[in-house]
């Protein structure tokens, strides 16, 4: 299998926040934590664009590189996950992430941070699959159920796509050919690098 990837088509996102709501509900994410959010650029002006942002599960994940306790790992499908039992809530991953994906619950006084929480690509975490412990710490494990992330699967305009990188890029390519514009994919080069050029 190739790598699991997210793709957000800014030409289609209508800023409905359905993806945000779906994620919060599916994983019962606590108040104050946003694993996914919609960002609008040039809001209210002609040509405004919205994009749905979460952890992009980068090829060379900077959060994994800077973690002082090595609590990050990558699954065979390229999903970047972390062990909450190991996380010390230092916040290094937040500073390293180009997408602002890591979230920290404010558990105590004086801005004390709790353990980091982020999008899991609906793949749970290092607990027994479909167990109570996994749900409590990481949310539902939809990948183990043979499903894709809910944010993408229920996106009404199919602006947000998730799945095998080859399949997702094929769908997007098809779409761009049909509409004849909007070939730019926000965040892909930051998350997955530039595609290798032939003969290079």
């Amino acid at each position: 299998m190739a790598r699991m990837k997210f793709l957000c088509d800014a030409e289609r996102c209508i800023e409905c926040n359905g993806c945000v709501t779906a994620c919060k509900n599916e994983h019962e994410v606590e108040w104050g934590i946003n694993r996914r959010r919609v960002v609008t650029i040039n809001d209210g002006e002609p040509g405004e664009r919205s994009i749905s942002v979460a952890c992009m599960h980068c090829s060379d994940a900077p959060c994994q590189a800077v973690c002082p306790v090595n609590c990050f790992y990558k699954t065979d499908e390229g999903v970047v996950l972390h062990d909450k039992d190991l996380c010390i809530g230092c916040g290094y991953c937040f500073y390293a992430c180009p997408f602002g994906a890591p979230q920290f619950p404010q558990e105590g006084a004086f801005g004390q941070r709790g353990k980091m929480d982020k999008c899991t690509f609906c793949a749970g975490g290092p607990e027994e699959d479909a167990s109570e412990a996994e749900f409590e710490k990481y949310g539902r494990n939809r990948l183990a159920e043979g499903k894709l992330p809910l944010c993408a699967e229920m996106c009404s305009t199919k602006a947000l796509l998730a799945g095998d990188g080859d399949v997702v890029s094929d769908i997007f390519r098809n779409r761009v050919v049909v509409r004849g514009k909007g070939a730019e994919v926000w965040g892909w080069s930051s998350a997955y690098g530039q595609p290798a050029k032939e003969g290079a």
Partner: protein
């Protein structure tokens, strides 16, 4: 004499604190990468009571096929049967 001893002790203590605080963070797993609990691959357990797609637990190929079918279903040209646009 007692004062001098206290000064030496407090100086040594401050030095120890500084040395500990300023030393680089140690790699929690001696440079071996991930230090947490092992995770089971997503295809192994079968997903529990909400499993979709009919793949068998432990069968990686059928699991991947299930996910690919769902991924391709995100193409609305395929969903609507618009073969002129679906490529």
């Amino acid at each position: 004499m007692a004062l001098r001893g206290k000064l030496i002790l407090s100086g040594a203590f401050a030095g120890l604190i500084l040395a500990t605080g300023c030393s680089p963070l140690e790699d929690a797993n001696n440079g071996k990468g991930y230090a947490g609990k092992a995770d089971t691959p997503a295809f192994e357990t079968g997903g529990g009571q909400y499993t979709a797609g009919g793949f068998k637990a432990g069968d990686k190929e059928s699991w991947e096929e299930t996910l690919n079918v769902r991924a391709k279903a995100q193409n609305e040209y395929v969903r609507t049967g618009d073969s002129a646009k679906a490529q």
